[in-house]
């Protein structure tokens, strides 16, 4: 390790922070797109002038756009997310609890899907073009051709309703034990795993196959090493960089996938909170949720970049 690699990493971190900052501006701008104003859109055409004036004052619409943006941003940085329009609750408290739930769901899916994807990738390279490989390909291809919410209902229909193996809604409450929580989120976790597994597994397979074509692998094979040992000890280390990269990208995708899955399973997380308040046109909540999702997504993408920099030995020795 030397200075140049850390410079690259530092650049990526700075770029990530800049992206988060700029995306906050974009999200804020996204809620100002209307030709009229937000208050009118929320209350509809039949609103009385007093109600409009009240809501405008509440939203702070009487101050210029840039001032509103700055005060929103400053509030965010201090952990003050404002209050919800629909029920007047403090948004930060509501989000804090739900964010923990969402991370619990996403982390459970990640812990299962990552090892599984790598093992399945290995298996399909080991049995390349034979039936295990083809079966894995077919199943993963089918699972990405159906949107998450439909996949969820297919699983609910068969596993929750017909077989009764798992609950069809994933209600969790603070009083539940850890085991009960895991049981409650079985189906949503399976859906999320299926959604990200396909891509990760295919990329693992592709990365391994790419390395398997190198001359040194042929040498190892001609030396009589077993096929599994060749793949695991010799091909894997050189395939780690692309695999780690695609894993991180899928973790980022997972963050978005939870939105839909939470709605299907009535799971009390960030995604459900966001979707509920989009329908209610509760702009402050939507802005806050939007920037949090964007920030997590950008951070994970940034980590993917940093990992691939760290995993690339060519960058450790500057010319």
């Amino acid at each position: 390790m030397n200075a140049s690699i850390w410079t690259l990493v530092a650049q990526r971190i700075l770029l990530g922070l800049l992206l988060i900052f700029l995306s906050s501006a974009l999200i804020f701008a996204g809620t100002q797109l209307l030709p009229g104003d937000v208050a009118q859109a929320i209350l509809g055409q039949s609103a009385t002038p007093e109600a409009l004036a009240n809501l405008r004052a509440e939203l702070g619409l009487n101050v210029p756009v840039y001032q509103r943006y700055v005060s929103w941003l400053v509030g965010l940085l201090h952990g003050d997310m404002g209050t919800s329009l629909t029920n007047g609750q403090d948004i930060a408290t509501a989000i804090g609890r739900r964010l923990a739930n969402t991370l619990f769901l996403a982390a459970s899916a990640a812990i299962i899907s990552v090892p599984l994807a790598i093992i399945l990738g290995l298996v399909s390279v080991l049995y390349r073009n034979r039936w295990p490989d083809k079966l894995i390909s077919a199943v993963t291809l089918a699972s990405i051709s159906v949107p998450e919410f439909m996949l969820s209902y297919i699983l609910v229909f068969y596993f929750a309703v017909q077989l009764g193996w798992a609950p069809s809604v994933a209600m969790i409450s603070p009083s539940m034990s850890v085991l009960e929580r895991f049981q409650a989120i079985t189906l949503p976790v399976i859906v999320l795993v299926m959604v990200v597994l396909a891509h990760m597994m295919r990329m693992t397979r592709a990365a391994l196959l790419n390395v398997m074509q190198s001359a040194y692998i042929e040498t190892a094979e001609l030396n009589g090493l077993g096929r599994f040992k060749v793949i695991w000890r010799y091909a894997m280390p050189n395939a780690v960089a692309p695999i780690v990269n695609v894993v991180m990208l899928n973790m980022a995708y997972l963050v978005v996938g939870v939105v839909v899955v939470e709605v299907v399973f009535v799971y009390p997380g960030m995604g459900q909170y966001l979707v509920d308040h989009v329908a209610k046109r509760d702009v402050p909540v939507v802005q806050d949720c939007g920037i949090i999702f964007a920030a997590v997504y950008i951070t994970l993408n940034m980590l993917a970049d940093i990992f691939s920099i760290l995993a690339n030995p060519r960058l450790r020795h500057p010319r």
Binding site: L19, L22, S23, L26, I27, G30, T31, Q32, L33, L34, V38, A41, L141, A142, S145, V146, P147, E148, F149, M150, L151, Y153, I154, V156, F157, V161, Q162, S168, A252, V255, V256, V259, V260, V263, V264, L274, V275, H277, V278, A279, R281, D282, V283, V286, Q287, C289, G290, F293, A294, Y297, I298, N301
Partner: protein, 272 residues
């Protein structure tokens, strides 16, 4: 030219069947879109091939009209994405310099926010109507078309025939439309197939979340939303749109793959 492979043929036939059904929906559907013709969640029968939905409308007719809406919205949104993305992408590649830099960085920024989240943010203040949906989805998707068309055109822009056209004094418009576009078209069309499927999934997801096509209009995502409560009672009505979407997605993918493969082999590429 080699024979068209069997999977592609199947894909073509299935995709064509979907588009024809969408086009001729009022002629094919046995009942009207929002006509109440029976009891709630009647099982499949001779009168209602797939049964009825949550308020007693014929499910097959709902699916056919739903497909019409979904496919129509997705087609127009893809066209918007293509027109905007390719126009800016080719423009950026040909002009280069700070215009290219500015556009590309802006696209990077938009793509750094997950498109579902951004769509939800924008739709929280916009009136949710079909034209607004088409524009929001089309513009968000155009970022991907921009990247691809720019990448393809950057390679083309330095080729001799483009240089020749420039030297003989052709304008920017001619260079883009007559020299670069025809050569960039095949990868872009294959990408359009992929984008179309992605848009179908996107619009279905939005409708399912209640922020897409509004009732009483039918679309595949909305049909799932309307019938999801039946699942708990073992009524599979909500699963039928999944079958339709999967069939459409797979068939369009098969055709797009074939286009991509054919064009790479025409250029003497890897698959030649």
């Amino acid at each position: 030219m080699r024979r068209t492979p069997l999977p592609t043929l199947i894909g073509l036939v299935v995709a064509a069947a979907f588009f024809l059904t969408a086009l001729l929906a009022p002629l094919i559907a046995p009942y009207g879109m929002s006509e109440i013709v029976g009891d709630v969640w009647e099982p499949a029968s001779a009168a209602h091939w797939l049964g009825t939905d949550n308020i007693g409308r014929d499910l097959l007719s709902r699916l056919i009209f739903g497909g019409r809406t979904t496919i129509f919205v997705a087609l127009v949104a893809t066209a918007v994405a293509f027109a905007v993305g390719a126009a800016f992408g080719l423009f950026a590649a040909v002009v280069g310099g700070w215009v290219d830099l500015l556009l590309s960085r802006f696209v990077d920024l938009v793509m750094s926010i997950p498109s579902l989240i951004f769509a939800l943010v924008v739709l929280s203040v916009m009136p949710v109507t079909t034209p607004v949906l088409i524009m929001v989805i089309g513009l968000l998707e155009s970022t991907r078309m921009y990247r691809l068309s720019r990448a393809v055109a950057v390679d083309l822009a330095v080729m001799d025939f483009v240089e020749a056209a420039r030297l003989r004094g052709e304008g920017l418009r001619w260079v883009i439309v007559r020299e670069i576009l025809p050569n960039a078209l095949s990868p872009l069309i294959a990408e359009m197939g992929m984008r179309f499927i992605f848009v179908v999934l996107f619009i279905s997801t939005l409708s399912f979340l209640g922020i897409g096509i509004q009732p009483p209009n039918a679309d595949w995502g909305g049909i799932v939303k309307e019938n999801k409560d039946g699942i708990v009672y073992g009524i599979p009505a909500a699963l039928l749109p999944a079958v339709a979407i999967a069939a459409l997605a797979i068939s369009v993918n098969l055709v797009a793959d074939w286009i991509l493969e054919r064009t790479t082999s025409l250029k003497g590429g890897r698959n030649g």
